[in-house]
């Protein structure tokens, strides 16, 4: 009934990825809206943080311009890494089409991962416009050292994997709850804060920072961004990557476990 788990690249997976890319471009006017909103938001954030710094060069060892770069990259990253996978799973469970997805020659989980990856590929070209624009509006500067650049590249991939695994688990919650809408909305509301994309962990009150350091979310924004802006250097880069890798493994194990149970929970609606 269920395709065995294998990581061989099946032509069906490529088809899923291509379908996701095409779908992303079917709604391309949204990109215009997104770019406009991004610029407005960057402008506002700049104003707020400039008002917060109020002429001081540094607060908690962080210069104002580093902060602006941090927020700019956070926003670009957030656009690239979107939880498409959780919508996809939710829709299929709610409409009952999951019944036909599950008998396809490629595993359901793999199909979903392929869709999500297609979404990333589809959105990536928008960055060709967004990056130059944010260099002007958000005074984006590229990483200072080759080590930071390389570290960030790896860290970004790990950030994507962490996000993917978190949302995969949430999405599979649908096998029990039918509608994950409420949970998804709740998590998407607080995740950018938990990830440190809104306020970097440096500026948080001690207790809050201690809590967020124990959660996987910091791996989605704070860790890669501290590498990007050059706040984490040398051995700290490796530590950050290690923490991210740890969470990728833990969350992947969790996802596999949940999936194993979910298959026996499936109730198909209306199909």
């Amino acid at each position: 009934m269920i395709a065995p788990v294998s990581w061989r690249l099946h032509p069906g997976l490529i088809a899923c990825t291509m379908a996701a890319i095409r779908r992303t471009w079917a709604y391309r006017t949204r990109f215009v809206l997104w770019v406009v909103r991004m610029i407005a938001q960057l402008y506002l954030l700049r104003m707020i943080w400039m008002a917060l710094y109020a002429g001081q060069d540094m607060v908690e060892g962080i210069p104002a311009n580093m902060m602006i770069v941090y927020l700019t990259v956070a926003m670009l990253q957030e656009f690239l890494i979107q939880p498409l996978i959780v919508f996809e799973i939710e829709q299929r469970i709610m409409r009952g089409t999951v019944a036909s997805d599950i008998v396809r020659p490629v595993g359901f989980m793999h199909q979903m991962l392929a869709y999500d990856f297609g979404g990333i590929l589809g959105r990536a070209p928008v960055l060709l416009v967004a990056i130059p624009l944010s260099m002007v509006v958000g005074s984006l500067k590229l990483p200072l050292t080759p080590a930071a650049a390389a570290g960030y590249a790896v860290s970004l991939i790990l950030a994507y994997l962490i996000s993917l695994m978190i949302w995969l688990v949430v999405g599979m919650g649908g096998f029990w709850m039918t509608s994950t809408h409420g949970l998804r909305f709740l998590l998407s509301t607080i995740q950018s804060f938990l990830a440190g994309a809104v306020v970097p962990l440096w500026f948080l009150p001690d207790i809050l920072r201690a809590v967020l350091q124990l959660l996987p979310f910091q791996g989605m924004a704070f860790l890669p961004l501290s590498i990007f802006v050059g706040q984490a250097t040398g051995i700290d880069i490796l530590v950050a990557l290690g923490i991210q890798l740890f969470w990728v493994i833990v969350l992947a194990l969790m996802a596999a476990l949940v999936w194993r149970r979910a298959q026996w929970k499936l109730v198909v609606q209306g199909g």
Partner: protein, 267 residues
């Protein structure tokens, strides 16, 4: 048709939609929780940031809390009445607006009350809690005038919020879509509205004061309450309800006028 008759029909619509939503209790609770989380995130941001930085545009955490509470309460009041306007695009495109035309109360009232989102209650409560907490913390000389200023400002803020949803919604009758424009205004208000408008650059600030009067939603009245200097004379804070009535009136006029051009689809 009498006013009481109209009101009783509105009340029936509201009751029916509450009953409908209570059918999905778990989802309902989740939605209330996420609504509260969504609205409080902005405040958590301000609180977290002001633990490292002492003030924002010269305003302390307590003063910003007042501003935030006023803006959120006004937004909640607006949402209580107008949250269903978001669905105007669907009603017009799919011809559902037809139904409003054959019933005995004005179509806009039916649009407003045909499905009240119960979860909005969370927004209002969140706003009131922050506002009340802030009021005990800030230094305001309480007089009848100040109480009036606060209440009028909340109503004015709700009206301005509503005007920039209903006005753009009128475009749907011609272009079949106004979501983009409505989301832009909503975005601007929820992102910029809870900070002192004075931190913005002069040109943007002027636009958000005199053209899209966001500064009147909470900032100017809050400054008047606190007796804080702004880029405008302090008494301008009292104009908030007047500005609200003017822009809301304009929006209503635009909506009613545009709705005459409604072309039902698919029949």
């Amino acid at each position: 048709m009498s006013l009481t008759h109209t009101l009783s029909i509105c009340w029936s619509l509201i009751r029916a939609s509450i009953r409908g939503q209570m059918q999905y209790r778990a989802s309902f609770l989740m939605e209330v929780a996420s609504g509260l989380a969504y609205q409080s995130m902005g405040f958590v941001f301000i609180w977290a940031v002001l633990s490292s930085f002492q003030s924002l545009g010269g305003w302390s955490l307590r003063e910003i809390a007042l501003l935030y509470g006023m803006r959120l309460t006004a937004h909640g009041l607006y949402m209580l009445c107008f949250s269903n306007v978001v669905r105007i695009d669907d009603f017009v495109r799919e011809g559902g607006y037809d139904r409003f035309l054959v019933r005995p109360i004005p179509p806009l009232l039916q649009l407003m009350f045909s499905s009240i989102r119960v979860t909005v209650v969370g927004d209002v409560l969140g706003g009131i809690v922050i506002l009340m907490a802030a009021l005990t913390q800030v230094d305001i000389a309480w007089s009848a005038a100040n109480v009036a200023l606060l209440v009028l400002a909340l109503i004015g803020g709700a009206l301005i919020d509503g005007a920039f949803q209903i006005g753009p919604a009128a475009l749907t009758f011609r272009f079949l879509e106004s979501w983009t424009l409505r989301i832009i205004f909503d975005d601007i208000f929820s992102r910029f509205g809870s900070y002192p408008t004075s931190i913005l650059d002069r040109p943007i600030r002027s636009v958000l004061t005199f053209i899209v009067p966001m500064a009147f939603m909470a900032y100017l009245p809050a400054a008047a309450l606190l007796g804080r200097e702004t880029y405008l004379p302090l008494w301008m804070g009292w104009l908030s309800p007047l500005v609200g009535v003017i822009v809301f009136g304009l929006a209503l006029w635009l909506f009613v006028r545009a709705s005459r051009g409604y072309q039902s689809s698919g029949h």
